[in-house]
Symmetry: C2
Subunit: 216 residues, 2 copies
């Protein structure tokens, strides 16, 4: 019997990949060149490949992927609705920063997963070139253009806040998930553990903002 | 040496698949259920798989796919810009009708292609379930709802006009392509042949409108 928390984590991750697929495919339409459009479209399909792998794992565990994803669609849709990129560069920042926070979060929780699930999660989190692509394009656009850099930095800072807001929503409604990684005591959320997790994610976020040349 | 017309046909088809991928992935975000969103996202990735196959063929022919696609991006982007679905059902009608017209067009020109290219085109045109999915959803939504049916029929009728308008643009600017399928005489466009092609495409379009329960 698979723990409800593992099913939740896989459901959340599956929907996250499906949503990222759709948003990255839409972002690709804002690309300034056919080459960049093709590249971003390819990165979007990587998200869908990941989604397929997670669905296959859920099915193997005897869980319907749609049922597993359903509880997380509202929170993730709200996250994306708050952060619709208005141009190509905002889309790149969103993908790079968002994928980074998600990867950090899943690496935090991987220690609570069984070996096979943890390996799948690690596989799915592996960057397939999106980070380098985004970093190069963003740095290039910001080079000598402090207005663009300032706007994108502000946009990048918003991501972390929106993610924490939605994570709070999810944690409130999915006890199994919250308990898995925040407290070793069932039915008890430790405030220190929440603070510790958020702090670690914030450090990772600040590092990525720094890579882009932004103050976080 | 591959004929410029074959390179044009593959470039047009490749960009068509890439554009459809992006638009279908965006349409998926309007789905009324998670199941439908997952289905439409999957259909979008089929377009991207097709795009990959055509790019591989272009590369094998010694042609850079980006270079081959470039001449057609303006016309195809204009087509899509004129036909941004405002809801899920319009997206479904657009995909079903648009894919159908494109498939009819490519089946018309396949006879001018070398065997290997023609087989690839046939493979790429094979419906992977999108048609049945779209037909079922559209019929269901229109059943007993003449307002929705009327609006979608109007929307479906617009597609053919927009396609012909953009095809005219392409034919004007790409002589090699126009000559391939419209006239057996080089450098000479036969008005009868143009009319014949459009008539045959219109018949196919009317048949699909009929399948949806719409008067064309």
């Amino acid at each position: 019997m698979t723990s409800p928390a593992v099913v939740d984590l896989l459901g959340l991750l599956a929907y996250g990949e499906l949503a990222s697929f759709g948003h990255m495919a839409a972002d690709a339409q804002n690309a300034p060149s056919l080459y960049d459009k093709a590249q971003m479209s390819k990165f979007a399909t990587v998200e869908h490949d990941n989604y397929n792998s997670i669905c296959a794992r859920l099915t193997a565990l005897g869980v319907d992927p749609i049922t597993a994803m359903q509880p997380f669609s509202t929170a993730l849709d709200a996250y994306h609705a708050q952060l619709i990129p208005s141009n190509w560069l905002e889309g790149l920042v969103k993908s790079y920063i968002g994928e980074g926070i998600a990867a950090d979060f899943y690496r935090e929780v991987s220690k609570y997963l069984d070996k096979e699930t943890a390996e799948l999660v690690e596989e799915v989190l592996t960057d397939r070139g999106l980070a380098d692509f985004a970093i190069e394009r963003i740095r290039q656009a910001c080079d000598g253009d402090s207005v663009t850099a300032g706007r994108l930095a502000l946009w990048g800072r918003r991501m972390m806040g929106e993610m924490i807001a939605q994570a709070g929503q999810v944690a409130t409604h999915r006890n199994a998930l919250a308990e898995l990684f925040i407290s070793s005591e069932p039915n008890e959320l430790s405030a220190e553990d929440v603070t510790g997790l958020v702090n670690r994610l914030t450090v990772g976020h600040a590092r990525r903002m720094d890579v882009l040349g932004f103050a976080s």
